[in-house]
Symmetry: C2
Subunit: 362 residues, 2 copies
Amino acid sequence: MRRTSTELSDGRELIYFDRDETAQRTDRTDVVDARHLDATATASEIRHDVLLDEWVAIATHRQGRTHLPSADECPLCPSREGRLTEIPAGDYDVVAFENRFPTFATTVGSEVPEDGDGRRPGVGRCEVLCFTSDHETPMSQLPSERIRLVLDAWIDRSAGLAEAPHVEQVFCFENRGEEIGVTLSHPHGQIYGYPFVTPRTRAMAEAARRHRDRTGGDLFADRLKSELADGSRVVASSAHWVALVPFAARWPVEVHLQPREPVPDLPSLDEAARDDFPSIYSTVLRAMDGLYDGPLPYISAWYQAPVRVDRDLVSLHLQLFSIKRSAHKLKFLAGSESGMGAFVNDLSPERIASMLRDVRPR
Amino acid sequence: MRRTSTELSDGRELIYFDRDETAQRTDRTDVVDARHLDATATASEIRHDVLLDEWVAIATHRQGRTHLPSADECPLCPSREGRLTEIPAGDYDVVAFENRFPTFATTVGSEVPEDGDGRRPGVGRCEVLCFTSDHETPMSQLPSERIRLVLDAWIDRSAGLAEAPHVEQVFCFENRGEEIGVTLSHPHGQIYGYPFVTPRTRAMAEAARRHRDRTGGDLFADRLKSELADGSRVVASSAHWVALVPFAARWPVEVHLQPREPVPDLPSLDEAARDDFPSIYSTVLRAMDGLYDGPLPYISAWYQAPVRVDRDLVSLHLQLFSIKRSAHKLKFLAGSESGMGAFVNDLSPERIASMLRDVRPR
């Protein structure tokens, strides 16, 4: 893999990840963004919700962001004569760049005082990661070596964002499908560097701490052991990874992909686990697409330990989930879920695991 | 108000709440459900999610529930000759009845062992509350005395469900709008009696406990005091209630309605606060409908103290929120919210408060 960092015309960083170790990104069209974009103002702040003791991002500059452009206006396709996109090059393998409408940015132009009355500037970093230059090929259809390249980019950016000022938590994720509000259909994900430990990670760290205090064991290792012993919710497994529907799945389709050997984050994965990942990820994604015979809207979320704290408590795992509860019905988050935080799942985790195991490869 | 408890043909309880103290619900058509429904089997269970230390309900019998029937098939309208609904009477003011497809039920026919390995039967109770017999009149357009009757029903059912076996938390809420997945458009809400303290309530109790340990004060009273002192997010107020956009609003439209005098739950509201509620509730609902010039999809959620614990920590308040972030755009819960639990709000709380104050009455 070869990594080339360049800069867009408004100063945002763009990084090419090329499979070809000898790839040269020195061509003018690779490195010069001819669009003359004005720098955008990021007026983001984070506010402390006292009733739940959680941080919320208020990012008012995001209201005007691009909304469902047609395929021939896609800003994530390579540039070509007469149509310049976010990626100056005429082709690419995988590319990461700072979001033009970020929730968090390295420089936040705002009058928010540093820690004044539960308000802080929304300092952090948000990047877009394009999985392929091909607008029509989703992650599930990429060949293994290209999924491996995406994994390398996730690893690189996880390490990179962890070093950005004020970042406490790095989150690599993919939203797919208009049903969950995706505004760009080009295969891509996002990477958020939050200036706080997120609520889910904090809850996992606290649960893991209580589990360790009570049993002496590691929550993630013990969970994996008991799921493997039971077996009814295991969807697929390989030398280094296990894919399972969690015992208390909260989404109609939910799969966790967990390394057999617990590690805190993506950069901590060893070479063998990295090599072994593309095949099982692809298997699970294709099974999900086969469930209702068509591309399943999903969220793919990499949970990692926080940057600075509780690194011995939270272990890396991927959560894949969908709001689709049958071929033609969606699960909505209404009062019980969005209000009370109490999830109601109409599908049995064991049944979904069995359906996913039974999907014929596509 | 007159309260009459009856039974549907499958054994579920139905309660009429009539404004007229002398209303007689002894007519055959009021009390006899002529449909001869078979009793449904509720195979609900709750499972412990070890990674987050939270309970999730698995309610597989709910997959077949009624989905968006047309108005002339509405099961919540009064019954008439040749078309029998859930409500046997030819008319009603407000009516509550046990849900035919409940997430939790008093009797759960299942082989789930009591507390076996993080699984427990989904014992509890779920009711539907019809706000009016008129299919076309939403809560925001009901006259004050009818909103007061709905409040009386919420109070009655909150007390009633708190006494049902195993119920630890009562939640009265209304989901409105197809955008948030409402399957029946008749003006109605739901009441859930959960067999556990819900994640949101637990988080509020913990935040309130830490606040009290640190400051000696009451979190809800102190929050209200500081919002009133600031004033920029106050939408409306009356002798007994204040409506405000929270400082760290997580939804594009979010209003909290809090009594000036903290109480743990709806049954604890005194007569003056009860009388004072309909007018401010109606004002806020109409302002929300006026925001984008049409009925706003919303969730209205009453948070109350748990039934048995932390009753001195959690205070009653209503949260009204919408996923609508502009006239034609919705806020989706994607990776950051549904995965990490970290909310990103594109609208300023102060701006929304000001817009709500400025809406002309409709």
